[in-house]
Amino acid sequence: MMYIHQSACISAQHSFGSADLNKLVPSNQNKMLAIEPSYPQIPPAMLRRMGKAVRMGTGAALTLLPEGGWDGIVIGTANGGMEDCIKFLNQIVEYKEGLLTPGNFVQSTANAIASQIGLQTANRKYNVTHVHRGLAFENALLDTDMFISENPSKTYLVGSVDEISSFNYNIDFLDGWFRKSPASNAQLYIGSEEGTLAGEGASMFNVSGLRQNALASIQRIGTIHGEDPELGKKLFESVISELSVSADETIDLMLSGENGDSRLSRYYEACESLLPDSVTIARFKHMFGEIPTATGIAVWLATQIISSGEIPVHMIKKQTSKKPIRNILIYNNHKGVQHSCILVSAVSG
């Protein structure tokens, strides 16, 4: 079992430092841009050279640095530093493959975030970057979970990072994944339209196998690929029944990755249909936008809800009186193919 001991999140909401999620920060031109802190932990000369993904990832991670450092750094990012990638690409084309500066090239590799965290903290331990699009963060979690089962007393850094860059925004826009007409995040789930809002952000967690003083636990990470909604539904069902069999507990809250894209509603409806009336359903993509590694931020959000016992009103899709919230099941579907379930639970008692 993996326990979350500390967490940090940079997102389009006031999530960094002392979080305030009750007042919804509005979207801007169909984007949910991250509210970035001033990054006091990063030397200014270095900060200027960093692209946004590296900056957000490193900045969030450094606030969690434990005494003695991490025993491994495991990052999930679909695209890494894609703004740098496009800058270098533009150089290639505009200078006709002439003499180019390599800075953007080096920062454009997806592993630049994990390696920059390693470099900044002189960490020579396990260091890996998972890039499997909508399941990059889930694979990072699973990777970390395997290490923890071998070394429960050690502390690992696991996290998610993705930025809005001209690369992913323009390409995903042309491919039909973002709204064509102006949309407001407060109205994201109203009506029946294709596409959603773009988002970005970073989530970071110190995790170990030690239960004492933990903020929450991650009991299950499940993934599956395929267009059939039954696949996600079966996965969802299996997590619920395992929880009932192993711990005689039930799901109190479903955190739904619904994003206002009418083509994806059926995936979420299939899972919701399994829930008894007593389960609250809440959504989060109107807060953060769609991010391939959105589930990293959802895990952070689940940890916040478990700690505070409160769910911001604007998140609620179906309210019930069930309290306290002990077991939160996140279901997410990325582009109709990549399904994931992550079960985050309270540690008390």
């Binding site: 890494g80 270098f88 690409l89 960490n123 260091n127 890039v131 499997h132 699009r133 993934t223 395929g226």
Partner: protein
């Protein structure tokens, strides 16, 4: 912990389109590096590169790929993937079984289509058919969907050590009970993007690369793909087994974004950790397929790390002198060669070597020879200080 065996392999590289073609070229000391051919780049006809001899159109038709938006990186992967699953007799039912994992690795992904990407990233009108195919995940997603795979699917990018980490991750999924078998490896194709990137870093050689040579002056880029089928002990009875995967180690050099520390700290730690997981002493390693890119920095620091760990390092070579540096595929291509070293009890040479590096005096194996070996190591190091070593044992 279950033991893990290699039951199938597939390779496509500049020296051949199958495992047997690659073995023939390695045994006959035939280098696959030559001037960059019909490639849309200012460097065509000039820079030496390790190109796969099959055109993307030929691959598309050979592999029955009729869907649009499939990139060369994916085609190379599919070619090697098909060979390795045939080789291991994984039928469609096993391929789609929930306990069959698939772990790909790539650095360039669909960005091999540099010009299309430039258009799609900057255009406001119609996109190209490649819109869903640029990211690293697109390759495993395409292959996974083609074979209706229902086990864990993942993609790793740790620059030039990517596919060594894919092998390590697949092995760990098996050890932890998340899979009974895993198809693991990587793919990368030549791209204007990477050619210009490495060129801007001044580490591309204008000549054919000479790993571990005193006068080496850089690497040659290559392209290719390799996959291995890893299976847990209980699944391999009666099957042909190539080798056993006994150790893996991953460490970060934490020194510089694009070069390795003078003492080769990351390489030293990766090799040490691999020995530790294999429960072996340095003296038990009989052979090393070195990372050996041919750059000043890599070969000297890797040599120092080998001397520090082994004192007198075992016979070693760099097969990048045949294939060029296949980036995200290199870890898997070279792991497959390491498995062949053990299976056929033979050493493949490092080509183009004449004089050792003064400060280390290390000489790689320079001719093909039969060699008795029980344990062999494969090294892969990448930008960002990402270092990984694998150890295989004779089955």
């Amino acid at each position: 912990m279950p033991r893990i065996f290699v039951t199938g392999m597939g390779i496509i590289s500049a020296i051949g389109n199958s495992v047997s073609e690659n073995r023939t070229a390695l045994s006959e000391e035939k280098c696959g590096i030559g001037p960059l051919g019909a490639f849309p780049s200012a460097y065509a006809g000039k820079l030496p590169c390790g190109e796969v001899r099959l055109s993307s159109d030929f691959l598309r038709s050979k592999l029955n790929v009729s869907e649009s938006g499939v990139t060369r990186t994916t085609l190379l992967a599919l070619h090697a993937f098909n060979e390795c699953v045939d080789n291991a007799d994984l039928n469609p039912d096993l391929l789609s079984a929930p306990d069959t994992a698939f772990v790909n690795a790539t650095t360039v992904g669909g960005m091999c289509l540099t010009d299309e990407l430039y258009h799609d990233a900057n255009s406001t009108d119609e996109g190209s058919p490649y819109l869903p195919s640029y990211d690293c995940g697109s390759i495993a997603l395409m292959i996974g969907q083609r074979y209706k795979m229902k086990g864990i699917i993942n993609t790793i990018n740790t620059a030039c050590s990517s596919s060594a980490n894919a092998i390590m991750y697949g092995a760990r999924l098996i050890r932890h009970g998340y899979a009974k078998r895993a198809i693991v490896g990587g793919t990368d194709s030549l791209a204007k993007y990477t050619i210009n990137g490495f060129n801007a870093l001044h580490i591309l050689s204008r000549q054919i690369c000479a790993p571990f040579d005193k006068n080496r002056n850089g690497l040659n880029l290559g392209e290719g793909s390799a996959f291995l089928v890893l299976e847990e002990e209980s699944e391999v009875s009666g099957k042909h087994v190539y080798a056993e995967l006994v150790g893996y180690g991953n460490a970060n050099d934490a020194f510089h974004p694009s070069s390795i520390s003078d003492a080769g700290e990351g390489p030293f730690l990766a090799m040490s950790k691999a020995l530790h997981t294999a429960n072996l002493e340095p003296g038990q390693i009989n052979y090393i397929n070195a990372h050996g890119t041919g750059t000043e920095n890599n070969d000297e620091t890797e040599s120092r790390a080998m001397i520090r760990l082994f004192n007198a390092p075992p016979p070693f070579s760099s097969t990048k002198s045949f294939t060029g540096h296949t980036l995200g595929a290199a870890g898997a291509v070279e792991a497959a060669y390491t498995v062949m070293n053990l299976k056929y009890q033979e050493a493949y040479p490092s080509l183009h070597f004449t004089e050792p590096i003064e400060s280390t005096g290390l000489k790689p194996v320079t001719t093909y020879s039969k060699m008795k070996m029980s344990y062999a190591m494969s090294n892969a190091f990448g930008f960002g200080g990402n270092c990984t070593s694998l150890i295989f044992s004779k089955a």
